[in-house]
Symmetry: none
Subunit: 401 residues, 2 copies
Amino acid sequence: MDIEIIRKLQEPNQSKIVLLVMDGLGGLPIEAGGKTELEAAHTPNLDELAAEGICGLHESIGPGITPGSGPAHLSLFGYDPIKYQVGRGVLSALGIEFDLKSGDVAARGNFCTLDEAGRVADRRAGRIPTEKNVELLEKLKDIELPGVEVFLRPVKEYRMLLVLRGEGLSGEIADTDPQDVGEKPLEPRPLTPEAEKTAGLVSQFLSQVKDILADEQPANFVLLRGFAQRPDWPMVKDVYGLRALAIAAYPMYRGVSKLVGMDTVQSGDSLEEEFDLLQKHWNDYDFFFLHVKKVDSYGEDGDFDKKVHLIEEVDQFIPRLRDLGPHVIVVTGDHSTPSKMKSHGFQPVPVLIWSEFCRPDEVKTFGERACMQGGLGPRIPGKDLMAIALGNAGRLEKFGA
Amino acid sequence: MDIEIIRKLQEPNQSKIVLLVMDGLGGLPIEAGGKTELEAAHTPNLDELAAEGICGLHESIGPGITPGSGPAHLSLFGYDPIKYQVGRGVLSALGIEFDLKSGDVAARGNFCTLDEAGRVADRRAGRIPTEKNVELLEKLKDIELPGVEVFLRPVKEYRMLLVLRGEGLSGEIADTDPQDVGEKPLEPRPLTPEAEKTAGLVSQFLSQVKDILADEQPANFVLLRGFAQRPDWPMVKDVYGLRALAIAAYPMYRGVSKLVGMDTVQSGDSLEEEFDLLQKHWNDYDFFFLHVKKVDSYGEDGDFDKKVHLIEEVDQFIPRLRDLGPHVIVVTGDHSTPSKMKSHGFQPVPVLIWSEFCRPDEVKTFGERACMQGGLGPRIPGKDLMAIALGNAGRLEKFGA
């Protein structure tokens, strides 16, 4: 359902909605005939929610597509991830919680090594450590460009962020990273006439970088890609009428929440702290997005048992969540991260929606195979879940008379 | 998922995908409470694939719609059959494996009978036999038109194919078939200004046909419909990064495969020969479309038992298929052809997808009712299956970071 339809139907009330996301929740059996991580986990409290609620599996981007975390979360927030795409530069900024303003242009940078002929010898400058990165950016900090502010921030290892702030900028600029060694870096070519000024500024920036880093080794230049502007998207307050709070330990997830207008609060890694924050802010918001990162991390590590164990830990906090008296609870993941694959997977993700008014199904346990039989179906688009949550919360008025 | 999204995500690897299509696979019980053809068939090997894989039923065109074979196969190849429509003239050309070039205009023709007043007395000229058709085309073979080549080919009985080849042609021309007896044939009216030249050429063609066949009986004229140009569609090599081979006994299926850029090889009718060809070409391609026509033919004949038996025969070749070591196997039909209906049906079609990374479901046998409980769901759009196959093959990179 298009978000603009939802906007017209929104009907504020006093209800509270909790979206609990275990990152990378979906899994696979290690051996044929075995159980997935979620199926193997002992989760009496999630099972109770599943039994009282309605279950299914969602695809956050589309069939067969492995979701990145940014677009997958936008989908869970009800934003069509195909329509609302974020450039890599913006994602980099979100990832370090750089406070992008409307109109800013951000690009992801790599420190690289150029040979004497000016060709790329190493696209990652030997993967220099983050400390070296910080040291190099210190040398670049006095670069000035006419009429714009320049921000440079270290990310991890050889990765950095460039942000230009000023009037009349555009993100429609081609990557300067040639993607192959032995090639010269490309010029920052404008992709539209409106981007000519910005491309000129980037060109001046790169020229100064080259001069300043000329005698450095191995990192003597920067490759830029994913030029993008902070998008100007509908805000959850406007389209849903929700005062929304994101509670997350990792900056990327707070960043993507900010893009749709949520307030954010930084949690530590412990579940205790996340649920403490939920309780602390309970009276101030209508919608709470609670993000548990490490479920994904253990999947990426291929650590089936630790993933199982963390899911079981989350399960232990469900009674505390229910004691707060939410009207709607959604429990799901943004994508699958099967330990077997040690990476994000394309497989649909289990989801349960609990409220007094959901249509109950026959699902009694929260697991991939059980959810396939659920009332939400085995392949609901992730972007449809938000509207169902709002419907369960009584926050959407009747469509037509 | 739009094919242009898939194009951006494609990530080549060494995996191999087999799409085994039993034409008209879906069926119905003859009597209420009975089994469908597939349910009645003893298929231990397909059942094993179903048990290890993920199952469902697909709709190749849309809910309630009875698919034609051309669009149904396009759907299985991942092409939205509503967006990628083929004109009847092009389908006729495909059906006899006429090698249409880009820019060619093709039309389906009927030999017909005109009365003395020039009105259509029989739209099919008494269903003249194919031999007569060939004889009549021999008389028409010297027709010349200024600046274009004219190709005439017999199809079955009274049906023929007209193809014009040259510069600046257009397929936007109205049918000349009035569809009713007692009416005069219509002029080949241009539907756009660009089609005026082509319409003029067709008009000259028809005038010469009328002169040459004036004394023939019963076939003394030709009605034309479905003017169309060979479409210029994305090729599977470009959008999926697949070197694809179609193995099929019937020209129409090789033709539709060619439209999306597959190589094709003609098989005989025996399953042995089809699987021999699969084995022979195993190392040269990434994707194999294997078409078994006669399952549909028996359905069209209303021969429940023969349809069951052929499905059982196909089952016996599954171990041979698995021995080749494919990474992904998709088994399905293009549409249903229930023996009970003796025709294509609108009913969804059973499908199984097998790979190491598919999310297993609880389905243990390959049949219509069993598949309804499967993880692909009971009504997945046929066009989504290709992306899921690519996902299972690890051939799509992550969407967003």
